[in-house]
């Protein structure tokens, strides 16, 4: 049915360039998909994966380059046209109607009708059941979709996508909310698609899944293809190093970062102990302890649970299980305010969405979290705020026209320093830094790195998350490696090298049995 007439690639993307307000998101990306091929698309944050997917599914139009589908030029004015041409995407957000039955959802828009246009319910249920059964999905098609688990809902979405004459199916992190058993069902569907010569673009960070199901692989980094070829010929360590952008052979020893390294903290008792942090599909029994004066790094790929671990410690992530104690006192679960009072400070990953308050001044942004200690009976002490703001603006060398300048007008690096000041003003015992140097200029980066060092020397416990492997290894005294939400290793001393971090990620057995 959907097998192309001639031999050759089913989907051919060549030289695609996409810019957003001057920023190059895709730089001459090419990709070929053979009929029935399951192709892995991998890369870290900002690599350009989602942009590429959006170009392929017709959401974006490429600035340069062409696409061909089954040998014919393909140019889509919108996602609907791409769907009509046979390119279907299955997203994490499901996009079905929760209140309707499974069968209605599956056949939405093409329900079987009787002569007078009334719904032929019997036939609809039969057809829907057959479609699902052909993918090995066993579910009562009369039940409303919302009464089913997220995994099954996703299967229905997938079955719907592929049953409408799909030729290319894009799966974006399809297993992120699936149970292990459901993952097996999904793989069954993928195999059936392959038999029907439907091609699949499979986006995931779970290495085990990639190696189980994918034929070819494209690794993106900074909008460029850095590797393309059969997955079987690429060993795990190479794949991890390509994704993280650190060539295995070219790991330098020391150098560019501003860390001095080596804080002597081994003998102290931990200031923070997180044990058994668990949240379904996100964290699986994660335990981390941080001693005063120690920088503990969290290593792992995108989606491994690093940000979630930091948020869980800071009381900003609802947990199914686990506990956090600060200086021996257990924290109330799920309360950011309680964590802050106990001395936990979290510098979040997304500076703009979760950090700065753009409408407010530098001064008010700095004072925000420390307001309880800068006020009495609900009245703010301007003098104390002035003192603290002045101290930190000088200590962190925040470059602003003055304390009253709006924070939105500062550069990324200075905004980050404002956030650091906000947290230091709360006099924390432990600092959780999620990507503290991402997106800031080189000078500010060096300053922030030096500051982290200095703070640890002053006796603060620091948890450092960084996608920059060099920064992680040189900045940390110890690195806890996460994979698929679980701790898979811990490296310190002579073992703490970039290569060992990558091999730990690559060699660890997967969470999916």
């Amino acid at each position: 049915m959907s097998v192309p007439d001639e031999e050759g690639p089913l989907l051919e993307v060549s030289g695609v360039v996409k810019r957003f307000t001057g920023v190059l998101a895709l730089d001459r990306v090419s990709l070929e998909l053979a009929p029935g091929e399951v192709h892995a698309l991998v890369g870290e944050n900002g690599a350009g994966k989602s942009t590429l997917i959006k170009v392929i599914t017709g959401v974006y139009r490429p600035d340069e380059g062409t696409m061909r589908l089954a040998g014919r030029p393909a140019e889509f004015a919108g996602p609907l046209e791409a769907q009509r041409a046979g390119i279907q995407a299955v997203h994490q957000e499901i996009g079905l109607v929760p209140a309707l039955s499974v069968a209605r959802n599956l056949l939405l828009g093409r329900e079987p009708r009787r002569r007078f246009g009334t719904l032929d319910v019997g036939r609809m249920h039969r057809e829907a059941g057959e479609i699902l059964a052909s993918y090995g999905i066993d579910v009562d098609v009369r039940r409303p979709l919302r009464s089913l688990g997220v995994g099954v809902q996703q299967m229905v979405a997938l079955a719907r996508a592929v049953s409408v004459d799909a030729r290319v199916v894009v799966m974006d992190e399809p297993t992120s909310s699936l149970e292990p058993r459901e993952v097996e069902t999904l793989f069954g569907v993928v195999r059936r698609l392959r038999e029907r010569a439907v091609s699949v673009i499979y986006v995931s960070h779970r290495l085990d899944e990639l190696y189980r199901i994918c034929d070819g692989v494209t690794v993106l980094r900074d909008g460029r293809v850095v590797h393309q070829g059969p997955l079987a010929e690429l060993d795990r360590l190479r794949l991890v190093s390509l994704m993280l952008g650190r060539p295995v052979a070219d790991v330098r020893q020391g150098g560019v970062t501003r860390f001095s390294g080596g804080h002597d903290a081994a003998r102290e008792t931990p200031v923070v102990e997180a044990s058994g942090l668990t949240r379904r599909h996100v964290l699986d029994d994660v335990s981390v302890a941080i001693r005063p004066g120690e920088v503990v790094g969290l290593g792992g790929l995108l989606g491994a649970g690093r940000t979630e671990t930091a948020k869980a410690i800071a009381g900003a992530l609802p947990l199914d299980g686990g506990r956090v104690t600060v200086a021996g006192t257990p924290l109330r679960r799920g309360s950011a305010a309680a964590a802050i009072r106990a001395g936990v400070a979290l510098l979040p990953e997304d500076r703009k969405a979760e950090g700065v308050i753009g409408t407010l001044s530098v001064r008010e942004n700095i004072a925000l979290a420390a307001l309880p200690r800068l006020s009495r009976a609900g009245l703010v002490s301007e003098a104390r705020i002035d003192r603290i703001v002045d101290t930190f603006m000088r200590r962190l060398r925040i470059k602003a026209a003055g304390p009253h300048q709006r924070v939105a007008e500062l550069s990324g690096g200075n905004q980050q320093k404002v956030l650091l000041a906000r947290w230091l003003a709360t006099e924390p015992k432990i600092l959780l830094l999620d990507e503290p140097t991402r997106g800031i200029d080189v000078g500010a980066k060096a300053e922030v790195q030096a500051l982290i060092d200095e703070l640890a020397e002053d006796g603060l416990g620091v948890l450092l998350i960084s996608a920059d492997l060099e920064e992680l290894v040189e900045g940390s005294d110890r690195v806890v490696v996460l994979k698929d939400g679980a701790v898979v290793g811990e490296l310190s001393g002579g073992d703490l090298t970039e290569e060992r971090v990558m091999t730990t990620i690559a060699d660890a057995g997967g969470g999916t049995p």
Binding site: E354, I357, G378, E382, R422
Partner: protein, 323 residues
């Protein structure tokens, strides 16, 4: 980034700055212009009597607008303020038999109760502010009519009437109350943790939560304050009208208040509260209406002019926000 700014034509850059200036100070300029026009064309405009009338009329709007400004500062809106005024005016005569103080307290408690319901829905249930306050926008006046037995009642208690008609050092009491509240609300916004937190929450709720701010408590309180201020306005209006008329008191007040706040330069998407601007916004609209009425133009024209002012304010806010 610097290269891009350089590439932008200077005129566009200036336009953004002009719009930002307009958002911040346009309302004052408009008031000044309108006063000058009136001095020129309206007979007996600059009389003490006329100024008193204008200020007495605008006082309740200013008081309600303060509550609205705080709510809008959190990226919310309170549609129920007019109904709160109706509820207050319905409650007061019921308790006048016990004395003025219990009656006024009962009226104010009505406003607090509405605020508690609004705030709970927004803060704890997570209902969108426009929907949460719509419920009591509709229902509040209904409750008020039931409470009052659907009747207009004359109010005869002299102490209460004095609230509306007496003066302090020549300044009518409602104006004094509005002026005092202006100072209080400015102090709340600038000097209290509550004020700091509410603009922070409006500016970036996620960041505020991660910074440990008591987001829900602040949201609850902000709607209570809005209800209370609307009840204060309702009390003053009852005293001035010398009657309790829950079917008409405070009608369309929510729109006047939102207009005053927005025209005064408080952005609808929160993160900022401009107290003096809000006073000016209310004054501007009052002046526009008074001017048109004095020159025998229909109320519908005043409404159209009001619409134009709102559009201008929103346009200025949009342009300024793009900086």
């Amino acid at each position: 980034m610097t290269t891009e700014t350089a590439a932008v034509p200077a005129s566009r850059f200036d336009r953004a700055r002009l719009l930002a200036w307009l958002q911040d100070y346009g309302v004052y300029a408009a008031i000044a212009a309108l006063i000058l026009v009136n001095i020129a064309i309206t007979p007996r405009f600059l009389t003490l009597e006329n100024l008193r009338t204008q200020l007495v009329q605008v006082a309740p709007v200013v008081i309600v607008s303060f509550g609205m400004a705080l709510v809008i500062g959190t990226e919310g809106v309170d549609l129920s303020v007019g109904s709160v005024m109706a509820l207050t005016t319905a409650l007061i005569p019921l308790y006048l038999g016990y004395g003025v103080v219990p009656a006024v307290v009962a009226g104010l408690l009505g406003g607090v109760a509405v605020g508690l319901v609004n705030g709970s829905l927004v803060a704890f249930v997570g209902v969108q502010p426009i929907v949460a306050t719509l419920a009591l926008f509709v229902g509040g006046r209904g409750i008020a009519l039931v409470v009052a037995g659907g009747q207009l009642k004359d109010v005869h208690d002299q102490t209460l009437l004095d609230l509306g008609s007496s003066s302090l050092a020549g300044i009518p009491l409602p104006v004094v109350v509005a002026a005092v509240l202006t100072v209080v609300v400015m102090a709340v916004v600038r000097r209290t943790t509550f004020g700091r937190r509410l603009v922070a929450i409006g500016g970036n709720r996620t960041a505020s939560e991660l910074s440990g701010l008591p987001v829900r408590r602040v949201l609850l309180l902000v709607y209570v304050v809005s209800g209370l201020l609307a009840a204060v306005a309702g009390t003053l209006a009852t005293a001035r009208l010398q009657a309790s008329d829950p079917s008409s008191l405070g009608l369309l007040m929510e729109l006047s208040a939102i207009t005053a706040v927005v025209v005064g330069g408080t952005p609808l998407n929160g993160g900022r509260v401009r107290v003096l601007g809000t006073v000016a916004g209310a004054l501007l609209i009052q002046l526009v209406r008074a001017t048109l009425i004095k020159h025998d133009l229909a109320d519908s024209i005043a409404q159209m002019v009001q619409a134009v002012i709102i559009l201008a304010a929103v346009y200025a806010a949009r342009g300024a926000g793009r900086r």
